[in-house]
Symmetry: C2
Subunit: 376 residues, 2 copies
C-alpha cells in the first residue's frame, strides 16, 4: 500500500479517522526522543482529548499530562492520570474549585501556571479554600508574544519573589511554549527558535537563583522539540500535536506525510465542470490554516484517495461551505461516490469538532473525545 | 445601554451567549418578510442546531425546517417538527434508512434533494426499502458552482424526466442556494444575485413544464432573501443565519450590529505590551473568515466590552491559538479580568463548537445544541 492509498474503515462519511498504527509509532517516536535526551515527557492532550490515547502515552513512559483548561483536565483526572499540569493562566479562584476537589479525591499531582499577580492571588485564594499548598510554574514568554513574563523583565523577579513569599504557593518551575516556531519558514529557523527557547529558559532560572529554589524547566511544542538536539538543563517536554501530526508538521519538516495519523474521510457527492463536491465542509475540517494563525499551506486539506484508486496527482480542498467542500478536479475524472481521505492543516481543532474518533469498522471501538464542548 | 455595552450573564468564560431578545426580534423580522411577500418560511436549522429555537420559529409561522444532513435532521424529527427538507444530496440509500424510519414513526413530511442519477437511484432504493414514495426537489446551481444542475443544461431536463418516470419518486420542486451572495461586495451586487437566482429558478421550472407537474420553487440564504423585494413565482424561502446573524451579515448590509444575537464571552487573562490575551481561541471562535470561504472581514471577531466599560474604540481579535486569542490593545489600557464580548465572523460554525448555548445566569436555562458531533 503506497502512502497515497490508505484504507480507512467503511463508515458513513464524514468522519475523523485515526490510524492506530501511525499513532502508536508517533507516540513511540516522541518517547524515544525523551528517553534519549533524558527529559521527562508530559504530553499535551489538547490534540486528541482522548483518555484512551493518554493511557497509551502513559504506558509508554509519559510522567503525566498537560491540559489547557479546567474543563479539559477534569475527565483525565477522573480517569486516573497520576500528574497534571494545567498550562493556562487561571485568574479566578472559583474556576479551580472543582478541579482541586477532584484532584484531591483522585490523588492527582497538579501544577498550575501564572504570569501575573492577579494569577498568583487567584491561585493562593484557591489554595486557601482547598486547605492545601499549590505547586506553580511561572510562564516565560520566549517569543510568541502571548502569555508569560519576559526573561529579562523586572516582572520575572518580582513575580518570583511574590510567589516564593506566598505561604499557599510553592514555586516549582518555569514553563514556556515557543508557538512562534509554527511560523518558521525553514528547519534552520525552527532550530534557532528552539535553541533560543532553551537559552531564555536557562537565563530565566538563573535570574531566580537568589530564591534558592529547585526550579524545573518545562518547554513545549512538537516542532521545537523535534527540531532540537540539545536539551541540556531542560527537565521536561510538553509536545501535543505529535500524536497525530498534520500538514503543518510536514511543512515544518518535523513529520513526513506517512506519519500523519488523522484524516477526515469524505465522499464525492456531486461534481461539476470545475470541482468535486464532498460531504466535508468547515464543520468537518475547520477553516484552520495552521496553529497560532500560522499559514503557508494551500487550501483546507490535502486529498488522498481511499480504496486503491490512483490518480497520479494531488488534489486539495480549496473552499469550504459548512457541510460541503470544494476540490478542484485538476486533470482527474472520478465518479460520484469516490471516497477521499483528507489530511488536515491542523489536527487539534479538527478533533475538537467530533464526539468520537473512528479507528475501525466497528463503532464499539471508536475513541471518545472526552474533553470538548464543556462549559465549565 | 449602548450597543457597545451589552450585559451578558456572569458564567465561566469562554461561552457562547445568545441574546434571546435579539434572537426573537430576528425571528419575527424574517417571518414578517415571508408573510409580506406571501412565501412560506422553512428556516435552515444548521445555524442554531437547537430544538428550542426551531420551536420558536415554528410558533411564529415557519412551515417546517431545513436540515443539512441526516445526523442533523434526526433530533428535530424526534422533537416533532411537522415537515423537514434535507438539503443535502444523499447518494447512498443506507444513509436514509434511520431517517425514513424515524420520519414514518413521527408522521414527519420529508423532502429530499438530488442533482444526479446516482442520487435518484439512491433515493429510489431507499423508497423501495421503506415501502413508500419519496418527495424530491432537484437542486439548481444558480451560480455558487457547488452542487446542482445548471438551469440551461440538458442534465436538468434529463434528470427531471428520469425522476418523473421513477415510480418510487415524486418530483415536487426545485431548490437553490445562492451562497455566492456571501461574496458580494455591495448591496447592489447582492440584490442582483438574488434577482438572478429568481430568474434562473423560474426558467428552470419553465424548462420542466412538459412534465406537467406542480413544482415548488424554494430559495435560500439569509443575505439574498433580505436583499430582494420581488419574490414573484417563489414559493418558499430557507434562510438560516438570520436567527443569530454575525459580522458577515453586517458586512453585507442585511443586519446591523445591534441585531447580532450570538457572541462569545471571554476574559482577559493576560496582557503584554502589544496584546490583551483572552481565554477564547480557535476552539471557542473558529478560524472561519466567512461563509463559503468568503472574506472581507478583518481578524477573527470584533470585540465589544461587557460590564459597562467604555473605551471609545473598537478592538479586534487578530490571531488565534487554540485556547487563547490575541487582541491588539490599540490605545486602550484595560486590566486583567476584563470581560470581552466577541461578535463572530460567522455564527454557524461557532455554534457547532458548543454543546450548550448560554442565555442567562442559570445553567438550567442553557439551550442544547442538539445536532452536532454525531457520526451517523
Amino acid at each position: 500500500m503506497s502512502i497515497d492509498q490508505r484504507n480507512p474503515p467503511h463508515r458513513q462519511t464524514p468522519f475523523a479517522y485515526v490510524d492506530m498504527g501511525r499513532l502508536q509509532r508517533n507516540l513511540a517516536r516522541m518517547q524515544t526522543v525523551a528517553v534519549q535526551h533524558g527529559v521527562a515527557l508530559r504530553p499535551h492532550i489538547k490534540t486528541h482529548k482522548s483518555i484512551e490515547i493518554a493511557e497509551l502515552q502513559l504506558a509508554l513512559g509519559a510522567i503525566g499530562i498537560t491540559a489547557s483548561k479546567p474543563s479539559e483536565a477534569l475527565p483525565f483526572i477522573r480517569a486516573g492520570v497520576p500528574s497534571l499540569l494545567l498550562a493556562f493562566p487561571v485568574i479566578e479562584a472559583k474556576r479551580l474549585r472543582p478541579l482541586l476537589a477532584l484532584a484531591n479525591e483522585h490523588g492527582t499531582a497538579i501544577t498550575f501556571i501564572l504570569d501575573s499577580e492577579a494569577g498568583a492571588d487567584a491561585l493562593a485564594e484557591a489554595a486557601q479554600q482547598a486547605g492545601r499548598i499549590i505547586d506553580v510554574h511561572i510562564k516565560i514568554d520566549v517569543g510568541l508574544g502571548r502569555i508569560g513574563v519576559l526573561p529579562t523583565s523586572p516582572a520575572l523577579t518580582s513575580l518570583g519573589e511574590a510567589v516564593a513569599r506566598n505561604p499557599k504557593l510553592r514555586l516549582t518551575g518555569l514553563i514556556s511554549h515557543a508557538g512562534h516556531g509554527y511560523g518558521a519558514t525553514s528547519p534552520s529557523v525552527l532550530a534557532e527558535i528552539a535553541r533560543r527557547e532553551r537559552m531564555l529558559m536557562l537565563e530565566s532560572r538563573e535570574r531566580l537563583a537568589p530564591l534558592d529554589l529547585p526550579l524545573r524547566l518545562t518547554v513545549g511544542s512538537t516542532p521545537t522539540v523535534l527540531a532540537t538536539e540539545d536539551f541540556s538543563g531542560i527537565d521536561e517536554i510538553r509536545p501535543g500535536n505529535y500524536a497525530l501530526f498534520d500538514l503543518t508538521a510536514q511543512r515544518l519538516g518535523v513529520a513526513i506525510e506517512d506519519e500523519i495519523a488523522l484524516c477526515v474521510v469524505a465522499t464525492v457527492v456531486s461534481r461539476n465542470s470545475q470541482h468535486y463536491i464532498i460531504d466535508a465542509g468547515s464543520k468537518a475540517l475547520t477553516s484552520d490554516l495552521g496553529p497560532h494563525s500560522s499559514g503557508g499551506l494551500a487550501g483546507f486539506g490535502r486529498v488522498l484517495l481511499a480504496d486503491g484508486h490512483d490518480i497520479g496527482s494531488r488534489l486539495t480542498v480549496s473552499r469550504l461551505s459548512e457541510e460541503h467542500g470544494f476540490v478542484p478536479r485538476e486533470d482527474t475524472d472520478l465518479p460520484i461516490g469516490t471516497r477521499f481521505l483528507i489530511l488536515p492543516n491542523h489536527s487539534c481543532p479538527v478533533v475538537n469538532l467530533y464526539d468520537r474518533l473512528v479507528i475501525s469498522d466497528s463503532p464499539e471501538e471508536d475513541l471518545t473525545v472526552s474533553a470538548r464542548g464543556a462549559l465549565i
